[in-house]
């Protein structure tokens, strides 16, 4: 029945060794989520909307230079600093481990964006506009945010909801195509997992640098990375020491205790740049 829900905890693994900085995820995100087109002005005023962005770092001195890319999106923190500061509870943590922004509740205080250590929250300083020819490109599943409210990565929650309805309605296992018994077709069905529900950035990534999965799913493809990251958090909480030279798993700004649900894998450098 509908009331029985399966616990999910969605998470993403970003393999920096695979990321080539091609920006396909950025484009996919802009198209999926009705994000206005960023102009030069927006960037100069530091008011550009990029729910996912590729940060680029240079390493070394010319001619011995290497570029490093880090895709940064909302980390969907367990202890999200943006949540307690919202006076109207427009942002909260839902039972699927997502940090959710409810647009029609937001009054635009911008406290959350000030408190976010990852700067992944974006404020609509203007009414969004698109060229006339892009009007039919807008995604009907996502609200167009008006001026004066905060927006951010939602892990494409609209795709999750649509996938849930598809599983319920058609009653087919998304991976094997087998028919699910009617009694088992419930909202948040266990089969709502990777393959059936992917955020647009993950779907667009040509090198599979971004991978998305349910952390509670024992058979998930990146389960071991989530496990290791959760282990690290527990070790740190109990005052233990994590040997970072033997693992690739880390989370952004782990030391401030936000417990992000996005896990990063370090880039492997077979030929490191010589330190001057």
């Amino acid at each position: 029945m509908v009331a029985q829900r399966v616990d999910h905890k969605w998470g993403m693994v970003v393999d920096l060794d695979r990321c080539t900085g091609c920006q396909a995820c950025v484009v996919a995100c802009q198209a999926e989520n009705n994000i206005p087109i960023n102009t030069k002005d927006y960037f100069q005023q530091r008011r550009a909307y990029e729910w996912i962005r590729i940060e680029r770092y240079w390493e070394g001195q010319f001619p011995n230079v290497k570029a490093k890319f880090i895709p940064i999106l909302c980390q969907h923190c367990e202890n999200a600093p943006c949540e307690p500061v919202c006076p109207v509870f427009a942002t909260y943590h839902n039972d699927e481990g997502m940090n959710v922004q409810i647009y029609n509740r937001c009054v635009g205080t911008r406290y959350c964006s000030v408190n976010c250590p990852y700067t992944v929250r974006f404020f609509n300083y203007w009414e969004p506009v698109w060229p006339e020819r892009l009007r039919n490109q807008l995604n009907p599943d996502v609200t167009v945010r008006s001026r004066g409210i905060m927006e951010k990565c939602s892990f494409c929650v609209q795709r999750l909801r649509r996938g849930e309805v598809n599983v319920e309605r058609r009653g087919l296992e998304p991976l094997t195509g087998e028919r699910i018994p009617t009694a088992d077709r419930k909202l948040n069905y266990r089969q709502m997992k990777e393959g059936n529900y992917l955020p647009s950035c993950v779907q667009a990534c040509p090198t599979n640098a971004l991978q998305f999965a349910d952390q509670h799913d024992e058979t998930g493809p990146v389960k071991e990375h989530f496990d290791e990251a959760n282990e690290q958090i527990e070790t740190r909480e109990h005052g233990g020491h994590v040997d970072e030279s033997h693992t690739r798993v880390y989370r952004l700004f782990e030391e401030i205790g936000t417990k992000p649900n996005v896990v990063y894998l370090k880039k492997v450098e077979p030929f490191p740049v010589e330190k001057a």
Binding site: M1, V2, A3, R5, Y92, N94, D95, E96, M98, V100, I102, Y103, N104, R105, D141, V142, T143, V144, S154, V157, Q158, R161, V165, E168, R169, T182, A183, L187, N188
Partner: protein, 212 residues
């Protein structure tokens, strides 16, 4: 300081005026933001005077015969002109039982079909842009026989599984017996209405279930 005897009636009158004006203002503000405005439930004028009562109550056409998508997807959809012609290429409203205006109205539909023009129906039930409502999921829930007890939109118990047409009346009222479609009397399409029903039926009330 006690007011003098001269001032007393003046103050009483002022107080009465303040209370009356305030009351009127509060009523005006509340009713402006109600849905439909002022709670009148006036149906907008339609380009073709389509009587639901003739089609549903008299001729027993099922809701989902015209609103084809209602058991398949999000929007119930208004039928295309071609689908009206499915019956109305034979039915022209000249029979004895047909009302006086039937012939002219059916002629409008046929003209629209011949000139390839859509009929611009006016929307009666309008949800805000940031709300996701899936007709199919709600009909599937209410017609599901494995769920023993369901609760309607005002908390009334539904023990037997209704068919699709009865499910529609839970939110839309008795459209089948009305000439004009109007929002159900005293029923606003507000978030509280949705939440009450979701809580009664203990289905998810997470914000992202409806808000997008």
């Amino acid at each position: 300081m006690m007011p003098s005897a001269k001032m007393l009636p003046l103050m009483v009158a002022g107080g009465v005026v303040t209370v009356v004006v305030g009351f009127v203002l509060v009523v005006l503000i509340i009713s402006t933001f109600s849905n439909p405005p002022f709670g009148l439930g006036n149906a907008p004028a339609q380009p073709v005077a389509f009587p639901h009562s003739v089609h549903v109550a008299e001729n027993n056409i099922q809701c989902e015969f015209c609103h084809r998508n209602v058991t398949k997807g999000e929007a119930a959809t208004v039928p295309a002109v071609e689908q009206c012609l499915f019956c109305h290429q034979n039915i022209d409203g000249t029979s004895d039982t047909a009302s006086a205006i039937a012939q002219t109205e059916i002629e409008k539909v046929r003209t629209a079909f011949e000139t390839d023009q859509p009929i611009n129906w006016e929307r009666v039930h309008r949800l805000p842009d940031h709300v996701r409502f899936i007709h199919e999921a709600h009909i599937r829930y209410f017609t599901d026989e494995t769920i023993p007890v369901k609760y309607g939109i005002n908390g009334e118990e539904i023990v037997e599984s209704p068919d699709v047409a009865q499910t529609c009346t839970i939110c839309h009222g008795d459209v089948g017996n009305k000439v004009e479609v109007q929002p159900k009397t005293g029923q606003s399409l507000k978030m509280g209405t949705c939440l009450d029903c979701h809580r009664e039926n203990s289905v998810p009330t997470d914000c992202t279930v409806c808000h997008k």
